[in-house]
Symmetry: C2
Subunit: 202 residues, 2 copies
């Protein structure tokens, strides 16, 4: 199997980190999204939405969407668990994964796409919305800082996919000048803790 990947983009990084945490080796095929290689008919046959990452199995079956690829590998190789084991762990991890995805990762992405016009050849940027999305991301970081005063990781005591999603979002947010603020000490503590993991450089 292989994964169509873009080394510089924040979404595929989440899958690389997830697999690094699992210790799963993978063949990565680089796709130049700046040149729109992801939008060619060949790539659209693998994912009609024209996005990476895409997992291609040996029989040609393709799976896209980060969470779907991660679910696949969690089911194939449950240890170490990154999506939880008990019903409550699964729910609490997915709660924070979805919060990190919808209210942080996507907001940072929308801020980038709508403020910079990076993909203006394939979408209509609305700069005013880009600004709002950036404000939303900053509000989420404020809430997350409070949450991390009482929690080691996003979903509590154990590192999970939710931490991967939040870290990828925060690292990418530098591109739109959104950073952890000096007063967000709990968020910074969590961020520093994650830097000790080998997977951050995956």
């Amino acid at each position: 199997m292989k994964i169509y990947d873009t080394k510089t983009a924040p979404t595929p990084r989440r899958v690389r980190m997830f697999l690094a945490e699992k210790g799963i080796a993978m063949e990565y095929v680089q796709v130049d999204i700046a040149k729109g290689v992801n939008l060619t008919p060949e790539m659209r046959a693998k994912n009609p939405l024209g996005k990476v990452p895409i997992l291609e199995l040996d029989d040609g079956t393709c799976i896209s969407e980060t969470l779907a690829i991660c679910e696949y590998f969690e089911a194939l190789q449950p240890e170490p668990a990154l999506l939880g084991k008990t019903p409550l762990e699964k729910a609490q991890i997915m709660q924070w994964q979805q919060r990190a995805e919808l209210y942080l990762f996507m907001q940072v992405g929308m801020c980038f796409q709508h403020s910079t016009g990076y993909f203006k050849d394939r979408m209509t940027p609305v700069p005013e919305y880009g600004k709002e999305a950036g404000i939303n991301a900053q509000k989420f970081l404020h809430m997350l800082n409070k949450h991390l005063a009482d929690n080691t990781y996003l979903a509590g005591d154990a590192f999970s996919i939710a931490d991967i999603t939040a870290l990828a979002a925060i690292d990418f947010a530098r591109v739109v000048k959104i950073r952890i603020q000096p007063e967000q000490v709990h968020l910074q503590r969590w961020y520093d803790l994650l830097q000790e993991r080998e997977s951050v450089s995956a």
Copy 2:
């Protein structure tokens, strides 16, 4: 346990449908989001993001985010499976769940929030973005129609959470005048098939 619900909103409907498919009885507590009851300190203690639905367990533990609540009940009561059983089924269902959520459900929601100004007391609507979000949703319906030419349900042969997400989005899209088009016959076939399920009125 109980669920804080808003009968008229599209997001909590997904959880109601999911539980109806599982045959799980639930106590629902109505929250008036138009009046901002979801934003009170009491409700923010249950979900700091001020959104419904929220599942409250008997010990007071709260879980929000639709997918997290659904994962909880799937783990508690696996049958009938709505999130897949094998690694590949899980991945394919999550792929379509995420596509339906990010590129349809959320786009319809953004179109509604930014075009109508319904929540202008608590956010800054950007009407130009609302229009773009509506266009995005319509493009997704076009792609989905093609996909459903060869698939009974979104993720293939079996009804899943992905169908619930797409149906809730399409039904809510009427509010912003986005409808299945007469030429989208495969999408209409799928929509009509879903109307036979008791859960659509949950």
